[in-house]
Amino acid sequence: MKKRTLALMLSAALCVGLLAGCGGTADTTQSPAAGSNSPAAEQSQTPAGTELSGTVNTDGSTSMADVMAAFQESFGDIQPDVTVNYSGTGSGSGITNVLAGTVDIGLSSRALTDEEKAEGAVENIVALDGVAIVVNPENTITDLTVEQIAQIYNGTITNWSELGGADAPIAVIGRDAASGTRGAFEEIVGVEDQCVYTNEYESTGEVIGSVAGNPNAIGYASLSAVDDSVTALKVNGVAPSEATVADGSYEIQRPFVMVTVEGSQLAPAAQAFLDWAMSADAADEVTAAGCVSPNA
């Protein structure tokens, strides 16, 4: 009997999940102005100063998962009746979906291309993310130029001794082809479609793990994902940190973008969320997620 109840509950949960997935933006309505004097509204910095309700559907970059989780939690305190949904499908599909109107806000972990802007996509930068170049702690190299990094990744330099390190082959570690981090890295360093990878992984964690376990390895990862198991290299003499990313001196960085569509009116809840994310109030959440806020 217990099992059956459990099975029923599980199937019910599945059904709810299915329905939730179908939920469009149509139900995103502003609550009646009657609730305008609630305590929550007084704390909030939304322009209207009113308590909103509804659902904000966001979709896109998987690199933005940490930032979005922090945003969801804090925005839930400010506007308890607004549900912010996030699904990580990749920057490309986030931009496609917001242009197609299937989500309210698209998420991209790279700057928009001119092509995308021509289609009406609008770039709202909510955070800056440094892409750290990581090596094994046993590696004696601590500083590389962008040029040298490019040569390692396009296969011109294949041995650490060419850079003044030990005589060992370089294991070039990267992400899978659809990754936003890979797209950002290759674009910034200028090695698009030329990379000669030794290994490819489908997540940042696996890249860090692989570099931590292999003294010959070099890899790239979001600054926020770097831990003590690997060494983050200086690039052109600048160590990656929040400060060097914010002032632009650390070169390998990318923006986290909330994408909206030009000329189309956002639902009030979505507009409030975007305004809040772009304001200085959200800077703490951005920092907590390991990124740097451009709006602080």
Partner: protein, 278 residues
């Protein structure tokens, strides 16, 4: 009551049908767009490049080589182990080993991958002094260990099914025990052993999780010490963030893999049927 049985039986068939139809429907558009020859025989896979290339020949060859390598290592060991368990080992020893083999079959594939990554990969890197140990070789070893349990248990069942009279006749004619096992028992059980091999092929070609951790996942043409991408890992590595033609092409890889496994199943059924009749 009969209706319930009929319904349950129908569900399995329905799933197979739905999956088949779905795979064909979602796999064909990309093949049509890329071209069958370019897709199957293209030597380069660069799914997100400015001029994307969708050639899966490296993936197909890697899957074939990897499976062949695993069979080459796994089948002799598995067969000899089955002979040991079925014929040679004292009852009590076999009683200990058999549950251990069954346990080996129950270990989740990600655990095989993890052990391979922590132990095998550094070993390959240091032994051959390569940049990274993730390679076809490491994948073959992991796959060989993974297919052992199915090869052992199916071969053992086949060997046990050989009528005792055959072996007694052989022994009575003066053959030694070892001669009897290899000249009489094994040939009598050959279709069962062949079924074990085919089952091993099926397991090896369909495995994704374990080898994703030790293969390196770059779509090179396969060579023993370089990073390679299997058909299965080709789908798993890129699916999460894929879109458009890239995603459709991943379904096409799934279709190719599906056809491979269908062929293997047909061969398996032929062997099993012959076993029953013979």
């Amino acid at each position: 009551m009969q209706l319930i049985f009929f319904f349950c039986g129908f569900i399995a068939i329905a799933f197979v049908l739905v999956i088949t139809v779905y795979l064909i429907l979602s796999g064909l558009p990309a093949i049509r767009e890329i071209g069958l020859a370019d897709f199957l025989l293209g030597r380069e896979w660069a799914s997100t490049a400015k001029e994307p290339k969708f050639g899966i020949l490296p993936l197909i060859l890697t899957s074939i080589y990897g499976t062949a390598g695993a069979i080459l290592i796994g089948v002799p060991i598995g067969f000899l182990m089955a002979v040991f368990l079925a014929k040679v080992a004292p009852r009590r020893v076999a009683g200990v080993i058999r549950p251990v083999v069954d346990l080996l079959a129950g270990i989740p594939s990600i655990v095989y991958g993890l052990v391979g990554l922590m132990v095998l990969v550094p070993f390959v890197r240091k032994t051959f002094n390569t940049a990274a140990g993730e390679s076809l070789l490491a994948s073959i070893v992991v796959l060989a260990v993974m297919i052992l349990p199915s090869i052992i248990s199916v071969s053992e069942t086949a060997l046990n099914a050989v009528p005792r009279a055959y072996e007694e006749a052989s022994l009575a004619l003066g053959a030694t025990e070892i001669e009897t096992y290899f000249r009489v028992s094994a040939p009598a059980a050959k279709s069962g052993i062949a079924a074990a091999v085919v089952l091993g092929v099926g397991r090896a070609i369909g495995e994704a999780m374990a080898i994703m951790m030790v293969a390196g996942n770059v779509a090179n043409m396969p060579s023993l010490l370089s990073s390679v991408r299997f058909l299965t890992t080709g789908i798993a590595v890129e699916l999460a963030y894929s879109s458009g033609l890239q995603r459709q092409a991943l379904f096409s890889i799934g279709l190719v893999l599906f056809l491979f496994i269908m062929c293997i199943n047909v061969i398996l059924n032929v062997f099993l049927k012959r076993d029953k009749e013979g």
